[in-house]
Amino acid sequence: MALLFKITNSIINQIDEFFDVVDQGILVFKQGVNNYLNNDKQSFADNIITIDKLEAKADVLYKSIENTLYTKSLLPQFRGDVVNLLDKVDDIIDLAKENLYQFDIEQPKIPEKLNLHFSRLVDISVQSAESLIPAARVFFVDASAVKDKLHRVFFYEKEADKIANNIKRMLFHESDEIILSEKQHLRYFALHTENISDCAKIAAKILTVMAIKRDL
């Protein structure tokens, strides 16, 4: 009995740590994009190193949680859903890391007039992912409270869509000074940033169904 509770406590701590790591990763992504926009190269480089470590840590934790849940036959009715949820949450930090690398490798030339819009896009997109973390945490202790927290994810995801579309519209309708190849290049960066909130939305949908199932 003591052994089972030891395993239980260990996996609860791992799940908490996993969410902490993803949460930090999202913040680092936000910081990184803003540092890129502000041309703060040193801080941006630090952000890349940090997100690299956080992403690797999230992967290790995810694998360990998945392994323990299956090998110790824990949560037989929910482990598939829980593992799927953690996988989708892990996708967020994976995408955040990939996006920062793309900024680093491709060095998009963001015109001054779009700086504020990109900064706002990353803020809103990250807020969507940030809102997902407390909802995912609360699922484990009070499934009925999940719904109240998830509506923010969907709200910010829609907002991020609007801002991204606005950026694209500005690029193609109001920016004659930018050549087409650069427009297309910047369009993809708006899309990549927006994708963080899309990832959060996918996880939120899974969480909604899980909360309903748990409440039965």
Partner: protein, 376 residues
């Protein structure tokens, strides 16, 4: 010779062990929350304990319904129940061993010309109807309480999983005890008036009476059924009524166990009488019906749309069809055993004497006073 006559009861006990473990540990084992080995060991210990220490109450009711005072009669009646259970399971019909044995006893009463104790019969039938209803009521109350409790304490899902794992073991042990106490009458109860074994004193601490020794033997046969065949059934049987979460599975097993316990506890019945309420009839009821009732209770809480209503219809049909089939088979097999094998299926109908023997276990002295009559 006695052992040969006991084989029908022992086979029924084996079948009970093979099939009924699903009701107590089915969800726990199939979801791998509890290993089969652990479940089988706990079930064996507690079924035997329940049978030996609390099996008398329900057995008394069966003896009152029909005091089968010849061992060949008891063998045949149990055999009729075995055939009924086997045939109905073969055709995938919902069958209750309790209903089969009661039908077979009534068949014996009809064959031997004994009057069926209407009071006992009505108690039994009322209990059969109450069994799934009580299962549903208990499940609704327990599940609502559990949900409110969980809402208040907010236990982490993984910690809750561990608690449920241990809860399923404890409730499974209680369920096994109640199953042994309630259902041992079905397999060994009819042999009590005819099989008389001297008392055994164990280490001077407690005495095993004749009926307790029979129950112990039945309990061992149930255990063999659990270890030899129940794993196969556990792996193949699915819950036909509703899909359950682990919390609801815990509640369902607890509700089922409470129903079986209520209908087999003499002390509880005495307590109820002491506070001025009518006594609880101690009747062997169907473990499966109690489980189905409890599952339906959970379904009602979920809005009722998921419940497969044909199962309720099957239960209601079983109340009539199972005793009817068992009674008919019992009547004809008794005729066959009595006329072809020339085995006496009944002795002098002296119910008072038999009851006296049964109650006092004063076996050796009065054994000679029972004598055989030719039914023809």
């Amino acid at each position: 010779m006695i052992f040969i006559f006991l084989t029908s009861g022992l086979f029924l006990a084996w079948s009970l062990g093979a099939n009924e473990l699903t009701n107590v540990f089915g969800t726990a084992v199939s979801s791998r929350m509890v290993s089969f080995k652990k479940a089988a060991i706990i079930a064996t210990i507690f079924i035997i304990l329940g049978a030996v220490f609390q099996g008398n109450g329900t057995s008394n009711t069966l003896v009152e319904l029909g005091t089968i005072n010849a061992i060949a009669g008891a063998f045949t009646v149990t055999l009729a129940a075995v055939i009924t259970v086997f045939l109905m399971r073969k055709y995938r019909l919902l069958v209750s061993t309790s209903q089969a044995i009661v039908g077979a006893i009534i068949g014996w009463n009809l064959f031997t010309g004994n009057t069926t104790n209407i009071n006992s019969l009505s108690n039994i039938v009322i209990s059969w109807i109450l069994c799934p209803i009580l299962g549903a009521v208990f499940a609704i109350v327990l599940f609502t309480m559990l949900k409110l409790f969980l809402k208040k304490v907010k236990i982490h899902l993984i910690k809750l999983d561990s608690f449920i794992r241990y809860g399923l073991l404890i409730v499974g042990a209680f369920g096994s005890y109640s199953l042994g106490a309630n259902n041992i009458a079905n397999v060994m109860g009819v042999f009590i008036p005819s099989v008389i074994i001297p008392k055994i004193e164990i280490f001077g601490i407690f005495i095993l009476t004749s009926s307790q020794q029979l129950f112990l033997l039945g309990g061992v046969a149930i255990a063999i059924g659990i270890f030899t065949y129940s794993k196969r059934i556990l792996q193949t049987v699915e819950n036909d009524v509703l899909s359950l979460t682990s919390e609801s599975a815990l509640v369902v097993v607890l509700a089922h166990s409470l129903v079986l316990f209520i209908f087999s506890s003499q002390s509880l019945s005495n307590f109820i009488v002491s506070i001025g309420l009518p006594a609880i009839p101690l009747v062997p009821v169907s473990s499966s019906h109690a489980i189905i009732g409890a599952i339906i209770g959970i379904g009602i809480l979920r809005g009722g749309s998921e419940i497969k209503l044909n199962v309720i219809g099957q239960i209601a049909i079983g109340w009539i069809s199972t005793p009817l089939i068992a009674g008919t088979i019992s009547f004809f097999t008794l005729f066959f055993v009595n006329n072809v094998f020339q085995q006496p299926v009944a002795k002098l109908d002296n119910k008072d004497l038999i009851k006296d023997i049964y109650k006092n276990e004063n076996i050796i002295v009065k054994k000679d006073s029972i004598y055989k009559v030719n039914l023809q």
